[in-house]
Symmetry: C2
Subunit: 382 residues, 2 copies
Amino acid sequence: MAMKQVACSAIKAVANSGSSSVLTRQLHVSPGSKKIVGVFYKANEYFTKNPNFVGCVEGALGLRQWLESQGHQYIVTDDKDGPDCELDKHIPDLHVLISTPFHPAYVTAERIKKAKNLQLLLTAGIGSDHVDLKAAAEAGLTVAEVTGSNVVSVAEDELMRILILVRNFLPGHHQVISGDWNVAGIAYRAYDLEGKTVGTIGAGRIGKLLLQRLKPFNCNLLYHDRLKMDPELEKQTGAKFEEDLDAMLPKCDIIVVNMPLTEKTRGMFDKHRIAKLKKGVLIVNNARGAIMDTQAVADACSSGHIAGYSGDVWFPQPAPKDHPWRYMPNQAMTPHISGTTIDAQLRYAAGVKDMLERYFKGEEFPVQHYIVKEGELAPQYR
Amino acid sequence: MAMKQVACSAIKAVANSGSSSVLTRQLHVSPGSKKIVGVFYKANEYFTKNPNFVGCVEGALGLRQWLESQGHQYIVTDDKDGPDCELDKHIPDLHVLISTPFHPAYVTAERIKKAKNLQLLLTAGIGSDHVDLKAAAEAGLTVAEVTGSNVVSVAEDELMRILILVRNFLPGHHQVISGDWNVAGIAYRAYDLEGKTVGTIGAGRIGKLLLQRLKPFNCNLLYHDRLKMDPELEKQTGAKFEEDLDAMLPKCDIIVVNMPLTEKTRGMFDKHRIAKLKKGVLIVNNARGAIMDTQAVADACSSGHIAGYSGDVWFPQPAPKDHPWRYMPNQAMTPHISGTTIDAQLRYAAGVKDMLERYFKGEEFPVQHYIVKEGELAPQYR
C-alpha cells in the first residue's frame, strides 16, 4: 500500500504521551545492564517487504540498536512453547520480557517461579491474559501494556467483521475463486446492517470507538458494561445502557465481545448462554478466544443457532490445525491480526520504547498502562 | 439471520413514497391486459430458505398474485442470453420488461426493434445501463428504476470492501481454512483505515452515504462530481471537493467508484489512467464493471501497482469462468450482490409494484425514477 509514511509519525505521538514523573519505584532503579527478551511472531520472507514491519522477530520493535548501544542484552525469538524452547533458556536470568497477544508467550506460575531476575513484563499491544497475573502479583512483578496503541485498529476490524457477516460476503468470494456464479446462494441470507440491533459487551476504549463508527449505520445500539458511559458520548452514539447482560443479549441481532479475559469472563459463552441468544445471531469476538466455550460455539454454528461467527482470537494461539473453529460453517475467522496492522505496530513499538526508557530511569509509567504494579493488580483484573 | 421482520415494513414505506398525480401519459392509458416479463436470477433450493426472498425467479418480486388477479399475464425467467432463450420468445409481444442489474437482461437495439408492443422497461434496483438507452429513447419508450431502493445496501458494502482491502482480511481467512497460521504473512501489508486518503468518484446518493459512514474513521475524504455537494453535507462529512478528477486520483490511497456507466465513463480506468494512480492504491468498484478496462486492472493487480481491487460488478454478468478478475492477485470480488440484500429486495419489489400501479392507472412515476421518459433521456445520461 501507498500509505507507509502516514503511520510513521505515530511513533512520536505515542512516545510523547503519558505523564512523566520522578523516581518512585525501587524496583526500577537497579543499575547496570539488563537482559531483555522479546517474543514475537516470525516474518521470514515477509520482513523485507515493508520497512515499517517492526512487530516481528526480525523487526524486534526497532529497539535493537538503541538497547545494545546502552549496553543491554536483547534476545528475540518466536520459540516459546514446548520443552527446550528458546524462551525457557532465558527465563532464569532475564530482567524484562516483552511479549504480544498475537503470538503469546504464556507466562505461567512455573515460569515466574524460575525467573529469579524478572522485574517487568511488557505487552506490545493490549491484553496481558497470557500472563498468570495472580502469580505475577504474588511475585511482586510489574505487568504493563501499551493501552490505546491498537484500539482504533481493533474497532475498525470489528466493524469490518460485522459487515462481512451481515452481508454474507465470504460465500460470494468463494464462488468467484472457484469459477461459480450464484447470486441467490448469497442473497437469501444477506442483509443490510441498517436497522439491526447491535450490542457490545464492554464499552471501554474499543467498544466506544466501535459505537462511534456504527453510529451512521442507523442501527439500534446497546451496550453492557460495569458503568454507564459519559452522557455526552451516550448522546453522541445513541447507544443505550443495559445493566443486565442476560437481558441485553436476547435482543441482539449482532453481539460484539469487547471485554478482557479474566477469571469472571472465561468461558462465559457456554452452551446455556448461547441457547438464550436469538436464533440466527451473529457474533464478533476480537477480545479473547477463551471467553467462548470452543465446542459450544462450533456446535451452535453447525446447528444454525449462531448464523455467523467472526473473530481473530483463539485459544491457544497459534490455533492447532484441528481447532474446530477452522471447520465450522459460517465462520469468518482469521489468525490474531486485528491489533497488529503496520500502523498499530509503530504505535506499540513506540509505547514499549517509552516504558523501557522510564524503567531504565526509574520513572513511573503512564498510569493506564499498568495491569500489575509492583504486585498490585489493576481493578478490572481483581 | 434473526432480522427478517425488520425489513418487512420497508415495502410500505417505499410504496408510499413519491408524488401521485393525474393522467398525463397517453402511453400509459392503453387499456386491457398487459404482458409483463420479469428477468431475475434463479434461486432453486435457496428459495424456500427465507420467506422474504422475493428478488429471484421463484419469488417474482411477490407480484404474481396481484398481477394475475387483475388479468395481466406475468412471465418470469432467468433465461436471457443466447439463441432461443426464453426472453427472446416474449420480446415480440411483451408490454413491460422488469429486469435487474444482478442478472441483467441486455436490452439491445435489436431487441427493442423486435418488441413492437413494448412500452415500459423497469429496473428492479438501480442502474439501467443493461438497456441501450439511446435505442430506447429513439423508440419513445420509458425506462425507470427504483432510485434509492438499495443505496444504503451498496454504501454499506463499499465500506466493508474498503476495510477488507486496507486490513488485508482475505489472506488471513484463507490461512484459517487451509490449516495455516502465519500472522506475518498478513500483517506486513495490513493497515488501519484511519488517516488514509479516500476519494470517491461520484457523490450522488451512494457516494454521500459512503462519506457519512466514513466520517468517524478519521480519514482524509475527497470527492469528485459534476457539482459540489450541499455545503451542510460537506461540512458534516468533512469531504473536500475536487473539480479535476485527474488531479484527485493520484492523491488517493483508496478510490471508490460511484458513478453510472455511460458512454463517457465506459472504460475510463484504462492502463494510462491506472498508471497515474499511487503505487499500492486500493480500488473499490460496486458501480459497473465496464467502467474499468478489464485487462488493465488485472495487469495492475499482477504488477502490484493496484494493491487491492474489490467490487461486485463485472462485464458481462454472470462473469464467465475465465474472467481474469477471478484469478488476479489481491482481489476481493464477489458476484453482483451488494444491492440485492433481503432488505433491498423488499424495497425494490415495493418500488416496482408502485410503478406498475401508476402505469396501469396512467399516472406519473416519482420524477427521480425516470432514466428515459417517453423518449427523453435523463440529464446524466445525455
